[in-house]
Symmetry: C3
Subunit: 138 residues, 3 copies
């Protein structure tokens, strides 16, 4: 078994939900690994990674749920200390989580037909993100 290490670069805006499936599949293809898994991770505490059906409706519906969990206009102690306006961003990212693992079989990500890997920009300003995409297997 071996590990192949790759990076994925993104330019994001507030509450972007970016489909990174083709970039992750590209990491898997470049790796030459047929069977195993890929771990995708966001270095940064205001970005999150999960899967979703990447269609326009859910791009509104997932943020609406995050607004229930951590409303943008609520009181945050983080704000009192840092005055950067992104207390809700940190809370949302921590609850969804910064990483995902997806199995690989015959060199292909084993996603469902309507399932994409997405990066969620929880921060309130435009960011340049570099995600890590590590493929494990043989």
């Amino acid at each position: 078994m071996t590990v192949y290490m790759d990076k994925i670069q993104l330019k994001t805006n507030e509450m972007d939900i970016v489909d990174i499936t083709s970039e992750v599949q590209a990491s898997v293809s470049k790796s030459g690994i047929n069977n195993g898994m890929v771990c995708v991770f966001c270095p940064g505490s205001t970005g999150a990674i999960t899967t979703i059906e990447h269609e326009p409706g859910l791009m509104h519906d997932l943020p609406a749920a995050l607004e229930r969990i951590a409303p943008k206009g609520a009181h945050y102690e983080h704000e009192k200390m840092w005055h950067d306006g992104n207390g809700h961003s940190h809370v949302r990212a921590s609850i969804i989580g910064p990483s995902i693992v997806v199995p690989v079989v015959d060199g292909r990500l084993q996603l469902g037909t309507w399932q994409q890997i997405v990066f969620i920009e929880c921060d309130i300003r435009s960011r340049n993100r570099i995600l890590l995409s590590h493929v494990f297997g043989e």
Copy 2:
């Protein structure tokens, strides 16, 4: 180190929370791997995987919390486009996440005494699910 790839088949109904611990342990046992980890993944955007104490009370309490995060009767843009009534299912599955990793030592899943691996059927109709259970280690 090696990887062993297995599948777990389930028949589910709406909001079923299925204890799949024995099936995942069976994958580990069949693999012959003693030390490492197992990655369990749901291919599909309306199913989720986590751990919980699988007792009847929490089978009500976890869905109640998911109803707070993404109420079944709320407005979903997903519904306006697809009319399949499962906007809340997608949102709930994305927040919990489609995968889990669990360490393996001496051929055994390292779960707590009251901790089971569960598949959560967030969709609104009966489904046949095939989960992937990949064991990594030596």
Copy 3:
């Protein structure tokens, strides 16, 4: 590729959010593994693991969001059966999840500057926790 298995011991109180980054980095350093990933897991159904900026403000803000998702004073069927007062603890831990994977490059965890790995004690009493920290790579 190889796997190195380590444990992290913690003494916690209710809703402690403990920065375990240095302990996980110690596992990586002891492993001698340069490139790969680490999987950190909580055996137990009332503890959770994620990343966050570990500063005092967010130590109030994340629990406030968990209180929205699973209020401590709400009705729990778990309570009717077990009378241990921690129904909300189980629900919170299941939604955040018991594990995380973090990539390792050149022997270092690939976290963001303001991003720490944390254990969240969702239970209502003091606990002695033993987390598992498994490093995979070469």
